[in-house]
C-alpha cells in the first residue's frame, strides 16, 4: 500500500456534485501537519445534510485525522498545524472568533472505543446538556436521547448504575445517546464498531440508519462492507489525499479511479 504514491497535485475524482444549499459541512483544501509530517494534502469535500457519509481507506490514510478536523478535535494536539477552510452552515469553523468548544457543541463525536464516563448512565447522558446550562426537563431529554440510541428499554430501570457496568455495545450506544443529548446537527463517528462483536455492530449500524433522519452522520470505517451497508456517500482516502468521492453505490459498483477500484476489490489495503 505504502508504495502506491499519490501525486501531490491529485484532483479528487467526483462522481457527482453537491449543491451548496444541500451541504452542511464544506471542507476546502484542508492541509494538516503533525509537526513536520504532513498528514492531509488538500482535502475538499461537501457533506450533505441528513445523509451518512463514510470515510474509507487503509489505516494511516488520514481518514480519522480528517474526521477530527471537522469538530476541531485536532486542536487538542499541540504540534498540529492546519490550513484550508472548513465551513459549517456557511460559518468558518476555523475563524479566530470561533471557540473550538462551540464547534464540538454543534458537531458531536463518537469514538473508536466506547468511552462512557465513570458516572451513572443518567449522568453520562446529562453531561453535555448540563454544561450548556440546559433548563428544560432533563429526565425527558435523557429518555429521548436513550430512546433515539435504542438503549432506553435496556437501561430504563438502571439509570443510576455506572455507565461502565454496561456491555461494550451498550456502552457505545450510551455514547451515541450522550452525543445526541447536546442536540448537535452533525455526529462524527470514528470507527464506532471496531471494538464490538458482530451482534453489537449490527445494532449500531441499524441505529445509524435510524438517526440520519435527524442528524448528519460522518463515519470513519475500515470495513468496506460497513460503508456499503450504512452510508449514502463514500469518500475514499489514501495517504492524506481524497482519491474519489461519490454516492456509495456508484463507488462500489463503478469506481472511477484505478486506486479506488483496487481498494474496493481488495487488491490492496
Amino acid at each position: 500500500m505504502a508504495h502506491v504514491v499519490v501525486p501531490e497535485n491529485h484532483v479528487t475524482v467526483r462522481t457527482d456534485s453537491i449543491a451548496p444549499e444541500d451541504a452542511i459541512v464544506n471542507a476546502e483544501d484542508i492541509k494538516l501537519w503533525y509537526g513536520d509530517f504532513q498528514a492531509l494534502h488538500g482535502c475538499s469535500i461537501a457533506i450533505p445534510k441528513n445523509q451518512v457519509t463514510a470515510l474509507i481507506g487503509a489505516s494511516g490514510c488520514g481518514k480519522s485525522t480528517f474526521l477530527k478536523t471537522i469538530n476541531r478535535m485536532n486542536d487538542l494536539i499541540q504540534t498540529v498545524k492546519i490550513e484550508g477552510s472548513m465551513h459549517y452552515n456557511g460559518i468558518d469553523l476555523y475563524d479566530k472568533a470561533i471557540d473550538p468548544v462551540e464547534v464540538r457543541r454543534k458537531i458531536g463525536m463518537v469514538f473508536q472505543k466506547p468511552n462512557p464516563f465513570p458516572k451513572s448512565i443518567y449522568d453520562n447522558v446529562a453531561f453535555g446538556p448540563r454544561l450548556n446550562g440546559f433548563k428544560g426537563d432533563m429526565d425527558a431529554l435523557v429518555e429521548k436521547s436513550l430512546r433515539s440510541a435504542a438503549l432506553w428499554d435496556e437501561v430504563e430501570d438502571k439509570l443510576k448504575q455506572s455507565g461502565l457496568s454496561l456491555s461494550g455495545g451498550q456502552q457505545q450506544r450510551l455514547c451515541i445517546a450522550r452525543a445526541m443529548a447536546t442536540e448537535p446537527e452533525v455526529i462524527l463517528m470514528d470507527e464506532p464498531t471496531s471494538a464490538l462483536d458482530p451482534i453489537a455492530t449490527d445494532k449500531i449500524e441499524e441505529l445509524i440508519h435510524e438517526i440520519k433522519k435527524e442528524y448528519t452522520v460522518v463515519i470513519v470505517t475500515h470495513s468496506m462492507q460497513q460503508a456499503g451497508r450504512v452510508s449514502d456517500r463514500t469518500v475514499f482516502m489514501h495517504l492524506g489525499h481524497i482519491i474519489e468521492e461519490g454516492p456509495t453505490d456508484l463507488i462500489f459498483t463503478n469506481p472511477q479511479h484505478e486506486m479506488t477500484e483496487k481498494y474496493i476489490s481488495g487488491r490492496f489495503g
Binding site: P20, E21, Y88, N89, G90, I91, D92, D95, A97, I98, D99, V101, E102, V103, R105, K106, L131, N132, G133
Partner: protein, 410 residues
C-alpha cells in the same frame, strides 16, 4: 440556511454562557498555578531567611580602649591567637595563663571571645570582650544594613564600628561543636553525618536491593509474598519517630549499643528500607521481560540472569532511588533524638571502634542549637541549615542529572 454574517454557532445566550465558562476556567487554571508559585516562594523564603540570619552585621560601640576593640585580620589567625590577643590587651601574660590548666579554665569562663567568629577571614572579623548586651549588637543582614545606614553619621563621631560577620565561613566547617555560639562549628556534625550515612548506604542498599530482587525475581505468588508486600507498604507509612523508639529500645538498650553511630545507622537504614525497596522494585520491573527470556533462552541460570541482565539494566533506577532515600536519611532528626544522638560533642568520631562512638549529625546539631537558651545560636543554626540544604540540593541535583542522562530507551 447559511448565514455568512455570523461568526458564532451559538445563540447569544449560549455565547454569553460560554464566555463565562471560559472565564471560570481561566480562574481555575490560575488557582492551580498558585500552589506551585507558593511552593517555590516558600523554598526561596527558607533559603533567604537563613542567609539573612547567618550573615550578621555587628554594631560595636567604641567606649574606650579597655572595653572593646577591633583586631586586624592578620593578627587573629586562630582561636588560640584570639585568646592571646585578648590576654595581652588585658595586660596578662598569655603564655602563663593559657598553659596553666586552672588559669586557662578560669580565663575561658570569663572570656568574651564568643563574639569572635574564627577570625582568619575577612577584614571585618572582630574580637570583643566587653559585655555583649551593652556594647555589641548583632543583627540579621538586612536589619543590620539598615541600622548601619541609620547610624552612619554618628558612627564617625560617637564611635561605632560595623562588622559583617557571616557565621557561615570556612572556619565554621572546620571548627568542632562548642557551647559558645560564635565558636560553635559544624565539623563534628559533618563527620558524624558522613559516618552514619556511609553505613546507611551500605546497609540499606544491600538489604533493600536484596529484598527487591527477591520480591521481583524469586518470590513465589503465595500468601507469604503477599504478607511481605503488605508489610513493606505499611512500614513505609510508619512515622519516623516510631523507628526512633524501635532504635532506642532495641539497638541502644537491649543490644547495648548505646547512643552510637551504629545504632543511628541501623535505625535510619530500617527507616529508609521501604523507600529503597519500592524504588528498586520499580526499576527492576521496568526491565523488559523479553531481556530476561533472552537470557534464559541462552541457558543462563536465574542468578546469572539477575546479575548480567536485570541489575545492569535497573541500576540507574536503583541508584536514583537510593540517592533520594539517602537524602531523606540525611535530614532525619526525630529518630536520632530518640536514640540519644548528642547535640554537642567535642570529639570527632574515628578510630577502630568508631561504630560505637557517640555522635552528632547535621540536623541534630541544628536542633541542639534550638534547645540551648542562648539566642545567639539561632544565627548559628541558620549557618548549619544553609550547609545542610546545600548538601541536599547537590544530592537532588545529582539524582536529577542521573535520571536525565540515563532515561530509559525502551
Amino acid at each position: 440556511m447559511s448565514n455568512l454574517t455570523q461568526n458564532t454557532l451559538l445563540t447569544p445566550e449560549e455565547r454569553k454562557r460560554l464566555k463565562a465558562r471560559q472565564r471560570t476556567g481561566g480562574i481555575l487554571k490560575f488557582l492551580t498555578v498558585l500552589p506551585i508559585v507558593l511552593a517555590i516562594l516558600l523554598i526561596l523564603f527558607v533559603f533567604l531567611s537563613n542567609i539573612n540570619n547567618a550573615f550578621v552585621w555587628q554594631t560595636i560601640k567604641r567606649t574606650g580602649s579597655s572595653s572593646g576593640m577591633l583586631f586586624d585580620k592578620k593578627e587573629v589567625t586562630s582561636q588560640e591567637k584570639g585568646f592571646e590577643l585578648e590576654l595581652e590587651a588585658r595586660g596578662d601574660d598569655p603564655a602563663e595563663t593559657l598553659s596553666d590548666e586552672e588559669n586557662r579554665r578560669k580565663f575561658l569562663l570569663r572570656s568574651r571571645i564568643d563574639h569572635l567568629p574564627e577570625a582568619n577571614g575577612e577584614k571585618d572579623k572582630v574580637i570583643v570582650w566587653t559585655s555583649r548586651d551593652k556594647i555589641v549588637d548583632q543583627r540579621p543582614y538586612l536589619e543590620g544594613r539598615r541600622l548601619k545606614s541609620e547610624l552612619a553619621a554618628e558612627a564617625a563621631e560617637e564611635g561605632y564600628d560595623f562588622a559583617l560577620n557571616p557565621l557561615l565561613d570556612k572556619a565554621f566547617l572546620t571548627r568542632n561543636g562548642s557551647s559558645r555560639p560564635h565558636l560553635a562549628g559544624f565539623r563534628t556534625a559533618i563527620v558524624g553525618t558522613l559516618w552514619v550515612i556511609m553505613l546507611v548506604i551500605l546497609l540499606s542498599t544491600v538489604v533493600g536491593v536484596g529484598t527487591a530482587v527477591y520480591l521481583e525475581e524469586y518470590a513465589p505468588k503465595n500468601w507469604f509474598s503477599a504478607v511481605l508486600e503488605v508489610n513493606l507498604r505499611n512500614l513505609a507509612g510508619v512515622p519516623s519517630i516510631v523507628y526512633g523508639l524501635l532504635g532506642a529500645y532495641t539497638f541502644v538498650r537491649s543490644w547495648q549499643m548505646g547512643s552510637s553511630i551504629l545504632a543511628a545507622a541501623l535505625t535510619l537504614s530500617l527507616l529508609i528500607l521501604p523507600v529503597v525497596v519500592i524504588a528498586s522494585r520499580e526499576a527492576i520491573r521496568a526491565v523488559p521481560s523479553s531481556l530476561r527470556q533472552a537470557s534464559y533462552g541462552l541457558g543462563a541460570t536465574k542468578l546469572q540472569t539477575v546479575n548480567n541482565v536485570v541489575l545492569p539494566n535497573a541500576v540507574t533506577g536503583i541508584v536514583t532511588g537510593v540517592i533520594l532515600a539517602i537524602a531523606r536519611a540525611i535530614g532525619e532528626t526525630a529518630p536520632l533524638v530518640m536514640i540519644g544522638g548528642a547535640g554537642f560533642i567535642s570529639t570527632i568520631p574515628g578510630g577502630w571502634d568508631v561504630l560505637f562512638d557517640r555522635f552528632s549529625v547535621m540536623p541534630l546539631q541544628i536542633y541542639s542549637y534550638f534547645i540551648v537558651p542562648d539566642g545567639n545560636f539561632r544565627e548559628v543554626a541558620s549557618a548549619g541549615i544553609l550547609i545542610l540544604l546545600s548538601l541536599l540540593i547537590a544530592i537532588y541535583f545529582v539524582a536529577f542529572l542521573i535520571r536525565l542522562r540515563f532515561e530509559r530507551k525502551w
